[in-house]
Amino acid sequence: MFKSILTIALTGTCVALLTTGCSSPKTQYVDSDSSRLIANVDEINIQDFARAADEMVQSIIENCISTGSLKGTNGEKPILAISRIVNNTSTQFDTDLLVKRIRTELLRTGKVLTTTTLNLGVSEDPLAKEAMLMEEALAEDQAPLVHNYTLSGKIIEVTTRTSNLRQSTYEFHLTLSDRRGLNVWEEIKNITKQGKKPSVGF
């Protein structure tokens, strides 16, 4: 009798341990560039920003940086400032998800300089702006720092649906303008997604 109870108890414990060990974790880390990220039809996902930024940077490098068409003041490296990036989609997000990636990669090329002080509206780095103004006040004979190019853009959403399928196209427009207001580079990148419900991976 005792032996049977012991056997049953041990078997139960083993089954419980095995079930716990084999159950999938509720939360797990995934690489930000993996194919296992969640993809939604109704919003721009992090992988979409990375993809759009990647193709935009490749286009800027190929058409502007590689050809040497971006010129700075007095032979120095050109300074690029970020202007307005308009979010015309139905979801709210920080446009830095796109812009910061582009800026980081352009700065890494070593061919352009970017700025945190010459911004539209509030400066990204108020302390750096204060320091810049102080330097300008101290060095009266020195020309103030000005940007040579500005990056502006817009993100537009176009949605379509049938009875059981939804489609969203996110169109990324970016423009690089010089100080005369002439566009030196423009690019459009589309990302289209179809689906019924959010899913993992693509």
């Binding site: 560039d33 993996s34 990647d54 190929e62 050809t67 040497g68 070593g110 693509f202």
Partner: protein, 143 residues
Amino acid sequence: MKTKIIFAMAALGAILLSAGCATRSINTVEAAQPEGIPYMVADKRIITDPSLSRNVYVIGVNESFTEAGYKKVQIQIYNRTRSMKAFTYRVEWFDQDGMIITSPLANRTPIQIEGGQKRNIAVLATSPKAVDFRFTFLESMER
């Protein structure tokens, strides 16, 4: 009676199968003597998914450099089946010491290729230090 039911079910199954597996493939026209001469690269392939490799065949890899020395790589792929295939690709870049060049732009790009279609994937290195590359292909998940 039983035979009739079996025939009816077989016919229904055939109809459903043909509807579900409807195929269409691409017809292509191009210059018989192309003017551009690609610089082809000898490539090394490691296949762990023979099905993907068989269906979406990598014809070849060619490369070029921009004026400022940025490397550009193009892979020509061919869908040998009669149905659309979906997969993702990713490019990793390495410097002359064989070290990987990391980037905040790293991502797996989804791509679709119709049956019988030849398609080129061209990627420009965003760093002038990039001298080597590695493409990885992964079949898209069934949803």
